[in-house]
Subunit: 386 residues, 2 copies
């Protein structure tokens, strides 16, 4: 039983996190996370909830009243948007250019929607012309969904243009901003995005397991006109809206993840303090240094065009003949440095190097370049010894 | 903007938590919570997941392979059980003797089940004879659901007897153990419970927002025979099972709430260290001291019979003529002590005094008795001054 009673401080490694998330949590956020819990109905907590909503509105650049964190991971945020907005039989156009577009398709299908997909190669942004063609061919479509920043490929799509097309065809938009929020320019109101979800463990550098969401009036109108109640009690936005309402209208729904909200609030205060524009610029600028360094080592980026390439998630091709898993394992075991593997058709072919939030620092760029160079060019120390 | 950048350590009060949850988090668990994050695919994290599953099997007293924490609050655990096991058209018998029985009814209804309810007065345990009569009258029933420890009333139902009846009528059981786990005797395998969910912020004294769940083979068999896929991707147990599988079968689903799992693991290690029997006895014994003290003050318990009364959640009647909300506010504002209000038909009529996990200590019993006595008998200091 001895290992059972040991403190985790002894058993958990300290890693430099440069994968696709979670990113490194800032010490200020860890301190906030570990504050003693208070009740979720405590006036001090209710006031914190109001602060979090305001700070999220800033991060999303929106005035939407219904802006709050879902008590679950980013996928629960995705599910919240789909489950409420999409009804059985609704025609939904889903853009697939990576894992998370596929997940959107699966959710819409389970909701018995009539799903139309448009496809772009993994590593390419969503093609606005394909969306327009799909909407022309499907004038009865009600919803368009796409991923702003594809975590599986590192491609940034033009959310403003895609949302503009959806609006011209009278469609609502559901937009995944899990990896873009705070890392890439995002203007929910100016671009007219209707239902938007994100995660806290990417460019917010907060804890995994909580998902910022914002829903605008057009989407709420469609939800209010549903012919059947939302299929899951837990994801019902009407009930969640009451729980996150200001003042006396507030009604118990579930117990909010109190300590995670402490952490989210602190990470959002840090975003407010830095300023969104500076944060976007930091992610862009520091990623450029990484890309320069990778190219100097003879490596190639999956997304060549810089306007469509994410700074916070850099997907680099594995050179021919290199065992990508062995390199990742070596970085983890010898350097305590995590980078990500490829997913789906990109498995074995790419590495995903995250520069998100607090992980997005020059020292991390220098570190990953040095470690990768050593791993690619020198025999492993542990192999050399054995 | 000054308040925006202040650290929460300055703005959050320190409370003694004696409501219906969250309970106080042990310092060891807060320390674990605030460890730097590691990747959710890191071998060190995968090994922690395996440890958590083993420790949860001990807490639930089960050998069920599929034993894991849902990445969401207790209500997400409830939704996971219902969404997977209950199909449209299934006849489901739901016992309602408080808020959480009502919630079960609502979830089953949204899943388009054929719901039969049995009712007991709030404060009474579920009556096994009513369950037997309902099953006799509904031989096509497939599922029975009930709450082991009703957090809204403080009543403990006889889960062993109820599950035995359900089995005789060939029904699966879905059982809410949110407040009972670790606080009251619970033997998932010996009692033959099929799908059981709990929360981490009650007698585990861990963080809110993560929900231990265990599902047995009979329930998995019914799930495998579903005629339609589970309606929500996020709650699909087949996908979640793969994510929590050992070794090479493991498949990405969502990003686990890494830091919450650190905290859950540490709280489960503490349970293992104390021993379940000792924990159950501590909750029983310390609650008896509270009940004695309340009765000595002339107060009455809602649940009179000691065998049906929870130790971890003591529901006490508000004396005639006393403004219950004013007393609670005074305890919170003058003593930084939280107790809970009544819900539903009990609103305004009872207080709910939790003694859960780390909050279940003699010093807390002495404190709440002293503060309550003062609040009921002496004018408020703040009122006296003003």
């Amino acid at each position: 039983m001895e290992n059972v009673v040991s403190l985790p401080i002894k058993t958990l490694p300290i890693r430099t996190l440069m994968g696709p998330g979670p990113s490194e949590i800032h010490p200020r956020v860890l301190t906030a996370l570990a504050q003693p819990a208070i009740g979720h109905l405590d006036p001090a907590f209710v006031s914190l909830m109001d602060e979090v909503k305001d700070l999220l509105r800033y991060a999303f650049q929106t005035e939407n009243r219904l802006t709050f964190p879902v008590s679950g991971p980013g996928s629960a945020g995705m599910e919240t948007c789909f489950t409420n907005i999409v009804e059985a039989g609704d025609k939904v156009v889903v853009a697939r250019n990576g894992v998370f577009g596929q997940r959107m398709e699966e959710m819409a299908t389970r909701l018995r929607a009539d799903v139309v997909t448009i496809d772009d190669e993994w590593g390419q942004p969503v093609d606005p012309e394909k969306l327009e063609a799909a909407l022309k061919a499907n004038p009865d479509a009600k919803v368009v969904s796409f991923v702003h920043a594809e975590t599986s490929t590192g491609a940034l799509s033009d959310a403003r243009t895609l949302a503009g097309i959806a609006q011209r065809y009278d469609c609502l938009t559901i937009v995944d901003t899990v990896t873009s929020l705070v890392g890439s320019p995002l203007y929910v109101d100016e671009w007219g995005l209707d239902a938007v979800y994100s995660g806290a463990q990417k460019c917010l550098s907060s804890v995994a397991g909580i998902a910022p969401v914002t829903v605008g009036e057009r989407a709420l109108k469609k939800i209010s006109q549903r012919s059947e109640p939302v299929g899951t009690w837990f994801h019902d936005l009407g009930l969640i809206d009451s729980y996150w309402s200001e003042g006396s209208k507030r009604a118990y729904h579930h117990t909010a993840p109190v300590n995670s909200i402490f952490a989210l609030a602190e990470s959002l205060r840090m975003v407010r303090q830095e300023g969104l524009e500076k944060s976007w610029e930091r992610h862009r600028h520091i990623a450029e240094r990484l890309v320069e360094g990778l190219r100097a080592m003879g490596l190639q980026m999956l997304v060549e065009e810089s306007g469509a390439r994410l700074g916070q998630l850099n997907v680099v091709k594995v050179p021919d003949g290199v065992d990508e898993a062995a390199i990742r394992a070596r970085l983890l075991n010898e350097d305590n440095l995590e980078i990500g593997a490829g997913l789906g058709p990109l498995a074995g072919k790419v590495w995903r190097i995250g520069l998100m939030g607090h992980s997005c620092r020059m020292e991390n760029v220098e570190r990953v370049l040095a470690c990768l160079k050593r791993a690619l060019n020198e025999p492993s120390q542990s192999q050399a010894i054995s």
